[in-house]
Each structure stands twice: as structure tokens, then as C-alpha cells.
Amino acid sequence: MKGLIFERSVPRFLAARVVANLAGSGRGAAVGPLRLTDLSEPDPPGPEWQHVQPLMSGICGSDLATIDGASSRYFEGLVSMPFVPGHEVVGVLSGQVTTAGRSGLSGAPTGSGPAKRVVVEPVLACAARGLDPPCAACRAGRTGRCERVAVGHLAPGLQIGYCSDTGGGWSAAGLVAHSSQIHPVPDELSDEDAVMVEPAACAIHAVLSSTARAGADILVVGAGTIGLLVVAALRHLVDPRSVTVGARYEHQRALALDLGADTAVPGEELGRAARRRSASFVTSRHLSSGADVVFDCVGSAASITQSISLVRPGGDVVLLGMPSSVRLDLAPLWHREVRMAGAYAYGTEETPDGPRRTFDIALELAGSLGLGRLVSARYPIERFEDALAHAGDAGRRGAVKIVFDLAGGGRREPARAATDLNGPAT
């Protein structure tokens, strides 16, 4: 069965970096370590594992960074090669779990019967790695912070899609997932809605673990998929006084407003919009007051610098965009006592109703907001170079989320038509 595999090859890695630098994000696929090949189904590593046949699998920014040779060397010890990329997955179970899901976690389907649609929570934490007792983070439900993603009976890999033992979403051969990672998809969700659950969970976790609260003034830097989902999460889970978004492209601004932003402006106007909102003075290019929380959904040196300049003294900058090596002047961060924190993945969130799995909240949000409308184009796996180029240039081409369509003839029709804003869908 056809699938994409990412192999260790220093020359190809360097070639991908050069080509991506010259031709643009996503173009590294043509020359890099990613190749289309025949793959067989991965073997379940243990009895609580199940095979998932992907229906749809998304392409995210971290995938593009990996394929373009642009990701941080920090991850070298946290992945194992060769691996099949793809961690934003909606699929169907093609086997049976042998025991019930873990207590306190989302119930995995059990017993025999027709194939159920599921989404995969890809973090390979202690439970999936067979580590008992689990680490302190996993005990607290904060699986995104698992301390042992490189140990246990699995090869290193912080997520499915970066681990040589599990397979990944970009393959018709599918993947294997532990029962703790499997979440049933309600029937009312389309496949497009469901494929947005994983990135939505990232955004929800970033919002709910931040200091963003009702009455706060919030800025969101960048309005790609994650930026837009942060806007949705803010408006529907926190309801701040204001959400102001800096977005490069007009369709992003329109979607941001639709998802709950109060103001959406081109990125270069964000500073002035933030100043007006806070009636700030400007000193050394920094606002005297500024936003309570800034969500940086880009992860570049420029965006982080901008975020620090626009947050109020004592405020918080939350990094969602995956940064790599960047050069920053941290003097204002120090002087203004700004707190900067990363926001990675998901786990369990504290809510007014008690602790809830982030994926459960994301499934609700994906359905209620119809997040599948952010899926702009679907590609067959054979056209992976086109798909990745489209994803790498999504903003300019009027797109948001690009996905691989692995359903063949058996895929469920979406409840809503996908927002095919541009480009060749299947």
C-alpha cells in the first residue's frame, strides 16, 4: 500500500533545506528524505494497540518544517527513523482492542462490530509506551509534557508520525495507536471536522493553560490554521474582552472575524491596532500597556519580537508556532517582566466542570463550529509534492488546511462541503 516515509539521509536533508529556502516551504519534498513507497501495515507493539486506517490526514507546520529540513536539532533525540509522517488523523479502526480503555481516559471502542471512525491523539506518552507507573506529568493528565517520549518499549518518537514503530497518517497502510490515544468521532462530524480535532486540541490547550480570561485583551499573531483555531478557542471557551488578530491574507482575516475575533488586521498593522486598543504610549517600539496575553502562532524571530513588544508589562506571550533557532533581544522581556511560555500538544484541561480531556473539548468545538470549513483542499497521497507545496504556500493561495485523502471510495461524505478556496482538490 502506498505511503510516504521519511528516512535518515543527510545529503537529502540538506538538499531539502536548500530547495525550500530557494523555492518556498513545502518544496523540500521533491528532493528531501521523504519518498513515496509501498508500505505494509505496522505491527501492533502490544495487546492494547489497534490498527487505524486513515481516512484523512492533515499537513501541519511542524510536518513542513521537518520535510524542508528546517526543524530544530532539538528533536533529533525525540524521533526515530524511518517514520511515516502524519499525526492529524481521522480514520477507522480495523481491529479490536483486547482490553477496555484506561480508566479516566476517553473510552476506546471495544468489542466487534462495524468499523468506527476515530481520531488519534498522537502523543506517545507513558501509557502508550507501557511505562507503569507513569511519569508525574502523565499522572496529572498532562501527557503533552510526558518525560519519557524517548524510552519504553517503543522507539523514540514524541508523537505518532515521528516514531518508526507506529506508522503514520500519510500512508494507506495506516498506523497503530494505543487505546489511550483513540477517540471515537460522533456521527454528526464530517471527516473534515474530525481531521481538525488534533490542531484544535493544540489551540484549546494553549488557550486554557494560559492566563487568558474573560475581560482580557488578547492578541493573536498569525492566522494560519493554529492562529484561527486559537481565535475560535478564545471566543468560545474564554470570551475575552477583545481578540485582535494580525493576519497576512485577506481570507485569513475574514475567517478570524467569522470565528470570533473582534478585529483582524494585516500583520504590519497589528502594532497600531494593539496600541489603539490599549491607548498605550510607545517607547522604544514597545507599548506602554498592551495586551494581557499574546499568542504567537508563527514562531519566527520577527513574530516573537513583535509579540514581546505588544504585550503589557507583566503579561504573557504564548508560543504555539513551532520555533527553531531564533535570535532575539530579550532585554524588553526582562525589563517588562513578560512571561513567555510554550504551548505544546494537549492532555487534560482544568475547566469549570472539572478536568476534561483536551480532545473531548476539541471534538465538541469541531462539531459546533464546523471547523471542517478550514480544510481547503484534499490530495491523494500520490500527489504529495503538490499537496506539500500547496500547504507551504497555503496563505498566499487562499487556503488554510491541506489534507491527504486516503479514503478511496469508502470515505464518508462530509456533512458540509469543504471550503475549497483554491487549488486542485481531488
Binding site: 488586521v265 497600531r272 491596532a273 496600541r275 489603539r276 491607548a279 510607545v282
Partner: protein, 529 residues
Amino acid sequence: MSPRPGFVLEVDRSTPPALFWHGEGFRLEQLPPGRSRIVYPPEPLEAAPDPAGAIRRALDNPLGDCEPLSAQLRPGMKLTIAFDDVSLPLPPMRRPDVRQLVIEEVLELAARAGVDDVVLVAALALHRRMTEPELRHALGDRIYDAFAPHGLLVQHDAEDPSELVYLGSTDEGEDVELNKRAATSDLLVYVNINLVAMDGGHKSVATGLASYRSIRHHHNPETMRRSKSFMDMHRSELHTSNWRMGRLIARSGVKVFQIETTLNTNTFPEQFRFLERREWEWTLRDRLSFLGTSGALERMPDRLRRRMFHSIRAPHAMTSVQAGEVEAVHSSTLAHVLAQQLVEVEGQTDILTMGLPYICPYNVDSIMNPILVACLGLGYLFNMYRNKPLVREGGVLVLSHPTPWAFHPGHHPSYIDFFEHVLAESTDPLQVAKHELAYATDPWYVHLYRTGHAYHGVHPFYMWYWCAHALEHLGGVVVVGGNPAAVRRLGFTPASTLEDALELAAAITGPSPTITHLHSPPLLMAEVT
């Protein structure tokens, strides 16, 4: 030979292309023959001989119920001399500036009378503060060096509550709040340059030395819509309001001695002589000068081109000076302004075209940003009429200007926000006005106005209100050669060429529209019959 009056040329097949200003450059445009005409300004009037003598005579022979200035000066009195700011004249005139000539004579009389409490105040209203070179240019080095180092040359600060005094409100409920030094002086001498018919009169003090609390009563969309035009004080609600305020100021005991001057339209130096000539009268030297200038400008970087134009000093000459009681003085002043600028034009047109130059009152040594482009075209030049607009109701205004999406961040900080934020929501002046208070009271803009060289936060709103009458009157506005995104943000239609613009305009006016081109500057005011 006496200067020739203004002139309306009917365009035929033999008419040479007409000159259009285009920001920091020019275009020659062929207008459609048989249905186009060009309105040319009158030639510059003769300068008043012996300007200093004319000023002395005016001070000694005041108009209206008013004693000669010398009779009003006495030892121990508190004298304030206010003067028009950098927005006048345009372009800045060659030294000596007429303000310097007038103030030197006033100071001479004050010295003779033994007045030693004298303060000069730049009447900024809500404009940007003048720089030292600008003050030196307007007043001369001698006055500057005698007053500025001692803190006796100040710039009106409309945001300093300790330097403002509330005089009351008019019968219409308009608050009058003025510069305290000026309002509490024994005598306030106001020195004006009356470049266009809108300037001067009670507006000098009631606006130039007032605060936002006062100015908001007449700088608003409703007032501007009821000013048809604001260049004609008898049909201008803007002036009616200022006159009410001026009379209240007089009743409050503020004694104003008004000195108004008029200039001729000798606007550009010798190397730009072709700008003041009618195209069919261009000599070989004019043609070569046009070609050489245009060629050089095309090759210049934007910054250098801007610097070159803003270094122009106009050879304006004073044509009259009158002093005394405000209303009597202004009546005489207006007669002189109109004698220079009025051109009779028969009937309205379907399409009015105009080339906009590099400068307006609010971008001296600065960038002509899109809001100022709109204000110059739809505010100032559209309103240069008496009786009825040059263009008919529902007609189209075609402007030629590059309209760059560019702003001077030091001079126009609130303009940037206004353009990005307010105009992005609506271009309707009434809708726009909903944001006014937030901008007027924004502490950052207040800070920049008071300490830097920024226009007040509310100023871009006023520029937009200046367009209110035209926006209501016109069926459309087309901008030739402008930045399309900036033009659209203004709510106007971009066009690459004049031909395209006329086609777009004809879609609004109907086929074969009549066209009138306003060949200005030099300034002219149309008397439309």
C-alpha cells in the same frame, strides 16, 4: 501691462495638451475636444509698492471702529502677537515672510510706546508645532533670537489646561475656550496671511487659538455639509459658527487688533515658470524647462524628489494689508483675495478634472498622504467656488495624484491609524465621526502633539469632514495614477490613465459628458453662474 484676468478656454482640436499636476510631478493630458474646457487662473496682481510703508499706513489707519495701533499701546500693558502657522502660505514664501514684515512694524510701535510685556504665539490650533527653522523663516532671525531664548515666543498648546481659559458659550451652545495668554492680554494683535477666502476674520482667533472643546463645534460633518462652500463665508456654516464665537470673544472683553495680508499668485520660481503659463503660450524655453524638469523628476528617488519640491520658496508678493476691527478688516481682505483669484465660469460641468500638487496646508516638509490627497481635492479645490460648484450634483471628480500609501510617522501618526482603522470601516463622514472622541483624547496622540511635531489626534477626522460637502454632492471620484489600494481605501475608483478615468466617469454621468479642467495651482476661485 496689467495682469490678465482668469480665462476659460474651450478645447478644440488645435488645443495643446493641458498640464496636470501629479504630486511631485506633472502630466500633459489631451482633453476631448468639443466638450471640454480649461479654467485658467488670473495672472499675479502687482505687488504693493513699499510693503513696510503699506503696513505702517494700515496700522495707523485702522478699519472699522478701532483706534490706530499706536494709540492702543502703553507702558505696562500686556501685549500678545499671534500669527498664522506653517500651513500658510503655500508654498512657503521667500524671505522676508510677510509675517516678519508685519510683526517688525508692530514691535517697533510697541517699543516706541514702552511696552515690555510682549509674547508671540504661533496660532497652531490643532496643527503640528513649528520647527525652529520654520519659526525663523516666518519671523526672521532677529525676532526669533530676541524672543525665543527668553520663552517669549511660544506655540499655542490646545491640550494644556493651565494655558487655556473658558470664555463661555454662544447662543448656539458652542463652547469658546482660548489660549489664556492671548485672551487675558490687554491687546491681542493677530497677524494673518489670507491665502484663500476661507482664511482670516474671526476664524483666526476663534480657531487658531482655540482648543478641541471649541473647534469641535464647527469642524464636524454637519457643519461642513452646510458650508457651500466653506470658501464663501456668506454661505458657510463654518464661518457662521466662527463669527458667533468671535463676537462672544469680543463681548468677553478680549481686544483684538486684526492685521490681514493678501498675496498675489506668483507661486513658483523662475525655473517653474511654465506652471503659471497657458500651454499654447509656452515658449521654447518653457517647453525645454518642462521636458528637463519632468525627465529629471522621473529619474529621482522619491525622497529626493520630495525634498526638491519642498525646498521651493514662492516668490509671493503682498498685494494688500489691512488692520483694525476684525469684521471690517476681513471684508476688505476678501475683496483683495477675490480680485486676485476670481474667475467667472458659465455653467456647471459633468466631470471636473484637477491635478493635485505635492503640497497642501498640512504637509509642509512632509508627505502628502492619501487623506490629504482627498482633502486637497474634495475639500480645498472642490470648494474653490462661489454660487454653485463647478461640477454638477451627481457629477464626477477626477483627480490626478500618485496617492501613495505613505505617511509621515512624526507629523501624521493618527492619520495612519485613521486610514487603517476608521476608513477601513466606513468612508461616510457621519460614520467616521463615531470614532472622533477616541482619537481626540488618545493620550499618545496628545503626547505627540504637545511634545513632538504631530498633528492632533483628531486632525485626520477634520480632513475627512472637509470632504463632506463634495462626498454628498458628487456621483463618484476617480483618481488617475494613484496607488490602487490606497485609492480604494478612500472609497474612490483608481484609473491608470485620464482616458480610462473619463470612461469610468462617463459610466456615472452618461455618455459624452462635459469636462472642465481646473488649471490650478496657482489658485483660482470660480464664480459659477
